[in-house]
């Protein structure tokens, strides 16, 4: 028993890491089509966006960067498709300097879905300043975009109150800027799509109503795809993520079997104060 425990706690970690890759790739190649558990945040995001009347205008703020792109790969397109289907007018705004490439992607997708620049959506350029920039959109929407040419849609966007929603796709900071400087003061609903490690911090704002929807990472995107009845890349990746979780849980158990048995034998290294 002890030798087994010792063996279990001495596996070369690179084998375990390779195992994770194999498990994930296996699940990607052979999807099982398991169901996707839906969270309250995703349901509320879908319902808030679904209840927008046709023709209303929303801000689609993106601060995706290559690092977080995999987390936003499903939710962005899923929301965009839903907006186009419901004929909502969109103002794309990059709120992070690296997001311009991703906004360009969304613009191409919107065009493919039949949206026209200037009447159905506008593509606003990046502005530096982070929180200061978001705040200045609230106090003087057009003053930071003075050089933009006139178009029917752009002319109808007078100030921040022209919009019925702020949709924020980001790594985990800009939705707080949006809540504090746009959502709360101007009573504009904020729907936030974030990296999955941020949903726990933001759940409380969903509860207080400062957020009208919350999507967490790839899983959040998959949930939105299911809710809007258009399964795509997100749902296809969910089996792989599940298998990855399973692998990690397995490692947790393995590592702790070794630890607890060696602790019983009195060989484990202890800390100073362990509470």
């Amino acid at each position: 028993m002890n030798r087994l425990a010792e063996w279990l706690s001495n596996i070369d970690v690179r084998i375990l890491q390779a195992g994770l890759v194999i498990v994930v790739v296996f699940a990607l190649v052979n999807p099982m089509g398991l169901s996707v558990p839906i969270t309250e945040g995703a349901t509320r995001a879908y319902e808030s966006i679904n209840s927008l009347p046709a023709g209303s205008k929303v801000i689609f703020a993106v601060s995706t960067n290559p690092g977080s792109a995999a987390e936003h790969a499903a939710m962005g397109p899923a929301i965009l498709k839903h907006l186009v289907k419901d004929k909502i007018k969109i103002a794309f705004i990059p709120t992070g300097s690296q997001a311009t490439a991703y906004v360009a992607d969304y613009v191409n997708q919107a065009k493919k879905l039949g949206y026209k620049e200037g009447t159905d959506f506008v593509n606003l350029p990046f502005r530096a300043g982070d929180e200061k920039f978001v705040a200045s959109l609230g106090t003087g929407f057009k003053s930071v975009y003075k050089e933009l040419p006139s178009s029917p849609l752009w002319d109808s966007m007078v100030d921040i109150k022209s919009f019925s929603m702020w949709i924020d796709i980001s790594g985990g900071q800009s939705q707080m800027w949006a809540i504090a400087h746009i959502g709360d003061p101007f009573k504009i609903p904020v729907v936030s799509g974030v990296n999955s490690n941020m949903i726990m911090n933001l759940e409380q704002y969903l509860k207080s109503g400062q957020l009208s929807g919350l999507l967490g990472g790839l899983a959040g995107g998959a949930q939105y795809e299911v809710l809007s009845g258009a399964p795509a890349s997100g749902v296809a990746s969910m089996d792989a993520q599940g298998f990855g979780y399973l692998w990690i849980i397995l490692l947790l158990i393995l590592g702790n079997i070794g630890y607890l048995t060696s602790k019983k034998a009195g060989t484990a290294k202890g800390g100073v104060t362990g509470d």
């Binding site: 709360d184 100073v272 104060t273």
Partner: protein, 255 residues
């Protein structure tokens, strides 16, 4: 007043007011005290253990920006450096950003001077590694193996490197104490460290350690405590009133 900002303004007035009252108290020579944060004891024990084993102490700052948590961490770094100087125990500091490195060097040097041990200060033991996460990890990993420290203390704005460094220190059986205000790193630290200073505790600990030298830090912590206790009371009273069908507190706060 713009509608909806009255309560925020009230909070601000309460905060600044409390701060000013404490500050004027300090000016009149009054010394306020705060509770000793439990983590400080753990730090003491770690340094003592290193001294017994004759191994150095390792202090990592992480690769994050020079923010408020790093400023509090400098106070803790200074305390550890003083302790190490007094006990003739080596201290190695791994700094991430160039500016954090510069300040760290000054902080450690000052601590050695004040302890009267300038002779045993080694400038090369405060190291600028790099601010790129993966490269910082590699550098700390090599350092932990080469220098064989007895304790791994991690205070500051940690990013993704928290995971790897804490894991490596854990495997080497080091005493590990951490403090940061990043929720994500906190989760990783709690799972791998012996003691963790959670978020705001970092500031309280820093204020406690420097209560004599920089009493304005204590005043700040006290003023913050007024807001904390205020929040506690408002929630307690508010929920009791709401339970009895009186929603006045939530209504007032929406003003």
């Amino acid at each position: 007043m713009i509608k909806g900002t009255v309560s925020t303004f009230g909070a601000l007035v309460l905060f600044i007011g409390a701060w000013l009252i404490f500050a004027s108290g300090t000016k009149r020579g009054k010394r306020f005290s705060i509770r000793r944060v439990a983590g400080i004891q753990a730090v003491d024990e770690a340094v003592e253990r290193c001294t017994e084993m004759g191994r150095p102490v390792h202090f990592a700052t992480g690769t994050g920006a020079l923010d408020s948590s790093m400023i509090a961490s400098f106070a803790i770094m200074s305390y550890i450096a003083t302790k190490c100087a007094q006990m003739d125990t080596g201290l190695i500091v791994s700094a991430g950003l160039p500016e954090i490195y510069q300040i760290s060097e000054g902080v450690v040097r000052q601590a050695y001077v004040e302890a009267g041990k300038m002779g045993s200060f080694r400038a090369e033991n405060v190291r600028y590694l790099t601010s790129a996460v993966a490269a910082y990890e590699i550098a700390v990993d090599g350092l932990l193996h080469r220098e064989n420290p007895g304790a791994n203390l991690m205070f500051g704005p940690f990013n993704a490197e928290a995971m790897m460094i804490a894991e490596r220190g854990n495997r080497l059986g080091l005493v590990q104490i951490a403090g940061t205000n990043s929720f994500l790193s906190l989760a990783r630290f709690v799972a791998t460290c012996d003691y963790v200073l959670i978020g705001d505790e970092l500031y309280s600990a820093a204020a406690y350690l420097f209560r004599d030298k920089e009493p304005d830090r204590v005043n700040q912590v006290l003023a913050q405590d007024v807001l904390k206790l205020g929040a506690f009371l408002v929630i307690l009273i508010g929920t009791i009133l709401t339970s009895s069908g009186n929603g006045i507190v939530a209504k007032l706060l929406a003003k």
